[in-house]
Symmetry: C2
Subunit: 334 residues, 2 copies
Amino acid sequence: MILTLKPGRTLFSLVLSYTDTAKIPGITIAGASPQDTIYTPPADAELIHHGHCISIPGLPVTPDGKPTPALLTRAALTYADIPHIVIDAGCAVSPQMPHIHTGIKPGNNIEVKPAMSYKDALYTMQVGEYVGHTLSSLCDNLIIGESIPAGTTTALALLRGLNLPYKVSSSMPDNPTDIKERVVSAALSRLNMDTYLNVAAQTADPMILFVAGMLNGSSSNVILAGGTQMLAVLALSIKMKHNIQDTTLATTTYVADDPKVSFHKQAELFGVNVISVNPHLEDSRHAGIRAYAEGFAKEGAGAGGAIYAAQTITNTDILPRIDEEYDTILLDRD
Amino acid sequence: MILTLKPGRTLFSLVLSYTDTAKIPGITIAGASPQDTIYTPPADAELIHHGHCISIPGLPVTPDGKPTPALLTRAALTYADIPHIVIDAGCAVSPQMPHIHTGIKPGNNIEVKPAMSYKDALYTMQVGEYVGHTLSSLCDNLIIGESIPAGTTTALALLRGLNLPYKVSSSMPDNPTDIKERVVSAALSRLNMDTYLNVAAQTADPMILFVAGMLNGSSSNVILAGGTQMLAVLALSIKMKHNIQDTTLATTTYVADDPKVSFHKQAELFGVNVISVNPHLEDSRHAGIRAYAEGFAKEGAGAGGAIYAAQTITNTDILPRIDEEYDTILLDRD
């Protein structure tokens, strides 16, 4: 199988969203504290767009200071001059930069109530279809990344709700499986399984519904840039009998080769192409970047897909650019 | 001079904005009453996108019931399958559809105070540059239309502020010249002319600043779809020494051939291509559409550029589609 970008225009889109599930203590490290996770999606987008964040000082970090994968995305997109469009598909805090506004609300905490109403799920998917249709009509390769804290938990709940026994990844080396299982069990205990869209409304998050809509509305080559959350999007698309031909999953080797999630096997079952990109972050000059190669963060904000596209377009390794980008940010902070 | 679309992708963008100048009684008919003009930009965009408005019942009409030119734009874009992206660049009321959010505020009433601060003018132009850069990198022909009530008055104030003795068009057969002159005089009496950007900040509206920014940020073939307001955009761009090569003005013959405004002559002085499209609206089955050929509305919401692009792409007259579109809307209303 030849995995490559189609000749022509490449567009990177970043879908920002939020689920109140992220406020459960210990469920995510996408933010310095559970309350800080509301700022992570807008700050990721601001970092990619402006080179610095506006909604928060510094940049999104884990509680112990490891930087957001949006830093990798920023380095890749700017180096390869790939245009980006950011979509607010349910943020708690909107990004301070031009972005596509959709009117979609954040998802509820699935431990205590359904993620959203059936009507909101339908609306979210329909708006995603329009955005996917429009953006894909403007490019030959549409990359879709995401930023939603606790998104692996809602992805897991959806996969279980669809009776798919897949595993999900985590931004932590020690996946907080106990907490995730507790939340997922609570969500599934309420599950009223009539339609697949309703299962998603009850268990998932707005990002999954929106990206599934984008994929369904798209005409061009779509590259889902992400790990197990994008697998959950595909699972929903397949169950809903959407056409997923010409879809590629692109992620970092840190997710794809994680023995805990059997990513390649799951993607193969779905019949989609997989691109697994190794950005050799273990060779970074920065400890916070080397941590990615040790199992922290691993992926996010479409980093794997952005790096893949940038390396393909420029035929250059992106790591030196990532290190330079981090130098600039650390310098600004001093 | 051969005037045609470049081969490849065509994207229609619609810049919505607002100026409180539109609340001056008698200055515009872009709305059933001065207060209703705040709904005209979002309703225009909703009509183009959904085929019906959400912010208002029915569709934007003049006080005596003539329909908005957005109806023509809708018919043209849907027939030729041209994708559209709507930008809120200073609306008083946001459109209810996915659109690019910019954080730009409406302009002030220039009869009583400067349109905006210098800082806001700079921000508006910079955001326009980013949006223009991004959208133009995704297509071969970027059409830019606008919807801003009372926009010909702010365009006139800017042209006078730049010492350009041009005339502007009007959505009325009897241009309310007295009111416009009164407002423009008030704006110019306060004018502190240090930089061209500052002149625009004091006299113009957010649409003009934003579209001038888009034009400056664009790499591809830009088609400014509009009449004398787009001439004001070009005048500002030229004064600011922006590159306006590869720019085309596209409008209806109702504006271009209006003996009161010498449109062709003014455009020639700027050295830009002019496309003047005659949609033969005098042959419409609907009196409200035939009124366009009698000097009402004339242009707006990028109608001239959208009709030109649609007729070029499909090699078909769009009038039957316009009549059908209006049939559908009238049917929905019954």
